[in-house]
């Protein structure tokens, strides 16, 4: 191997400028591939960030309005979900698949006051402990609602971190707020936790125990939303079928057509998540394809140069073959040379690409833009992972081999008599 490398080194040393120019094409190809993938990742991370705020194996439901007449009732009838509806999920055929169930009622239009600071138009969202897991609520201080809060209908509250920050005059020592009291409307609540909310003022959900909201406002057994998690589903088709089963059951319970998609509003995060994953993988694949096509020009360059090299060295290969070089020896020499050029310059390109991604991360990644009144990051963590780096390495080696194989076969085919005659 050392001999092989030395042979290649000698050959490259004799053609420095040519080798570097070829290498530049490869480096550029890989650079573009990495930057494309990095920027693509950043875009996806930024746009799909919201999609990760909940567990993907959940379904979220709310009441709707019937869109067709059924069972002697007219269309346009409002469907109100009830507490009893959750019992449906605890019975066959759902009982074996459904894990956590959470119900939610909310009341909006209140003002939250803490000392002299206040927030208008907040939402009191009565929820259950299971919400913590299903909606991936991240606690920054204190705790989430527990079963005793529900049982004792405690007046406790969890506030988003932006509100907490405001209460602390910009500070982030959220623990200080735990145990403090805030007023929502005329009612007083004890803060038991601060959660990570959205990075804008639109997140005005204040979580309180479900039973507390129910009794405070005398809501009877009305439910705004039912969320439940499940297991054992794999494909989008299975998710779809499960959703239809849920719809049929709930619709029937509320005397709506089993296939009425508007009677009960269902958000199937499972299938949505699968679709998003699919879109994501398609986008990544598209980026790879574009990147690889950029790389192709580099590969053609290497191949071209190797062909010229082989032409120039025909006489030398003739000598080598005359004194006993097998075709395989020559093939290996050229392919290895090609792989080395590609890999060496490819890694330079990859390194520069990763540096470029980091620069992107530090500049564009830090800034955000206003889209439809929402502040949004343009790129979120636009870098490539270890997977992409390994992928690029494989691509480089494959590319180098492909670039080298054609010239190498030319070289291996050299007939010693013809080569030796050509002096």
């Amino acid at each position: 191997m050392r001999d092989l490398l030395q042979e290649i080194w000698e050959s490259l040393r004799r053609n420095k400028v040519r080798t570097c120019l070829t290498g530049l094409a490869v480096a550029w190809g890989i650079f573009m591939l990495i930057v494309l993938l990095g920027a693509g990742n950043g875009l996806l991370n930024a746009f799909l960030a919201d999609g990760l705020d909940f567990a993907s194996n959940t379904i979220n439901m709310g009441g709707g309005v019937t869109s067709k007449p059924y069972d002697g009732l007219k269309q346009g009838r409002y469907i109100q979900l009830k507490d009893e509806d959750t019992d449906l999920l605890r019975q066959p055929p759902f009982s074996e698949k459904v894990d956590l169930v959470s119900t939610n009622v909310s009341k909006s239009g209140y003002t939250m006051t803490y000392g002299r600071r206040y927030f208008n138009d907040v939402i009191l969202s009565g929820t259950m402990p299971a919400d913590l897991e299903m909606n991936r609520i991240q606690m920054l201080a204190g705790r989430f609602i527990n079963d005793r809060d529900i049982a004792e209908k405690r007046k406790v509250i969890i506030i988003p971190h932006l509100h907490a920050k405001n209460f602390l005059s910009g500070g982030t020592d959220y623990d200080k707020l735990v145990g403090q009291r805030v007023k929502v409307g005329n009612l007083s609540f004890t803060i038991i936790g601060v959660r990570h909310g959205a990075e804008n003022q639109d997140d005005r959900n204040l979580y309180v125990p479900y039973s507390t909201v129910k009794s405070m406002f005398g809501l009877g057994n009305d439910v705004d939303e039912i969320t439940f998690s499940f297991h054992g589903l794999k494909t989008a088709a299975e998710g779809e079928a499960f959703e239809n089963q849920v719809r049929a059951t709930f619709n029937t319970a509320h005397r709506a057509a089993p296939d009425d998609r508007r009677a009960v509003w269902i958000w199937n995060r499972f299938t949505q998540n699968l679709q998003m994953e699919k879109i994501k993988s398609i986008l990544i694949a598209a980026l790879w394809i574009i990147g690889l096509f950029t790389l192709v020009s580099g590969i053609v360059g290497v191949s071209n140069i190797m062909l010229i090299t082989v032409k120039e060295r025909t006489h030398e290969f003739g000598i080598r073959k005359a004194i006993g070089a097998r075709p395989g020896n020559i093939l290996k020499l050229i392919v290895t040379e090609s792989v080395l050029i590609t890999a060496f310059f490819g890694y330079i390109g990859m390194l520069l690409g990763m540096i470029a991604c980091e620069i992107l991360n530090m500049t564009v990644g830090r800034s955000s833009v206003e889209i439809f009144g929402q502040s949004m990051k343009m790129l979120d963590n636009p870098t490539v992972g270890v997977g992409a780096a390994i992928g690029a390495t494989v691509v480089l080696i494959v590319a180098g081999t492909i670039a080298g194989i054609f010239p190498a076969r030319q070289a291996a085919k050299v007939k010693p008599i013809e080569a030796l005659r050509a002096d």
């Binding site: 001999d3 000698e10 006993g324 075709p327 395989g328 007939k415």
Partner: protein, 240 residues
């Protein structure tokens, strides 16, 4: 019998067929010093290529050290060339970007001999050629005679069955030519190396013990030249 050619025919087909060898019968024993003479176009280069397993033949049989050399794959013929044949060319055919010792090492490289041993053996052969001091020089830093001696060292390093020399003095001046032929003669006499020299110079041919005259693709005559009186120039001058 080291070399045994039986009715070897060779036709080149470049547009119109050219029958170059028309039934060559030739036997060479181990340790012989043979020269093959003939005018250009007589077929002597083709014969040399066939002897050197660089080219195929169409009809007949060629045995080298008991092995039938016919329709071999590139791979096998390369291995046979490496193990059984040492080439010495008119234009030396050294690799320009390799030093003298690296050139000599090359056949052993293709035998998979490790680098340390290769170097040691190559240095021994260079010493034998009186070129120890030139080991790390590149071919373009050496004279023609030195280059040809490097080439001879490279040919000898694998202990081949035969040394095939194709106009070995063709690119050398007369003084150097004499030296190179003396060297080949000494290798034959002292080490018993079988040598076949292809030439059109009678002086060079006269160094050999046996002269094979080839004409129009056939062996015209095989001359016993142990007295070295073959050529009219042979008696006093060696060549040219």
């Amino acid at each position: 019998m080291l070399i045994d050619l039986k009715g070897v025919h060779k036709t080149y087909d470049n547009g119109q067929p050219l029958h170059v060898l028309k039934g060559i019968e030739l036997q060479i024993e181990k340790g012989e010093f043979v020269s093959i003479m003939g005018a250009s176009g007589s077929g002597k280069s083709t014969l040399l290529n066939i002897l050197g397993i660089l080219d195929n033949y169409d009809e007949g049989e060629y045995y080298l050290a008991g092995k039938l050399i016919k329709d071999l794959s590139e791979r096998v013929s390369a291995t046979y060339r490496n193990q059984m044949i040492g080439f010495v060319f008119q234009s030396f055919n050294l690799i320009g970007f390799k030093t003298a010792v690296e050139n000599v090492e090359l056949p052993l490289f293709y035998q998979g001999v490790n680098r340390h041993r290769r170097h040691k053996v190559a240095m021994e052969y260079l010493e034998k050629m009186g070129l120890t001091g030139w080991a790390s020089h590149y071919p373009n830093e050496m004279s023609g005679g030195q280059k040809q001696r490097v080439a001879i060292a490279r040919a000898l390093i694998t202990h081949p069955e035969i040394i095939l020399a194709d106009e070995p003095t063709g690119a050398l001046d007369s003084k150097t030519s004499v030296e190179v032929m003396e060297l080949l003669t000494r290798l034959n006499r002292e080490d018993g190396v079988t040598i076949i020299v292809v030439t059109h110079e009678s002086g060079v041919a006269n160094c050999a013990d046996k002269i094979v005259h080839i004409k129009d693709g056939l062996i015209e005559k095989v001359e016993d030249n142990r007295m070295h009186h073959a050529s009219q120039f042979g008696t006093d001058t060696v060549m040219k």
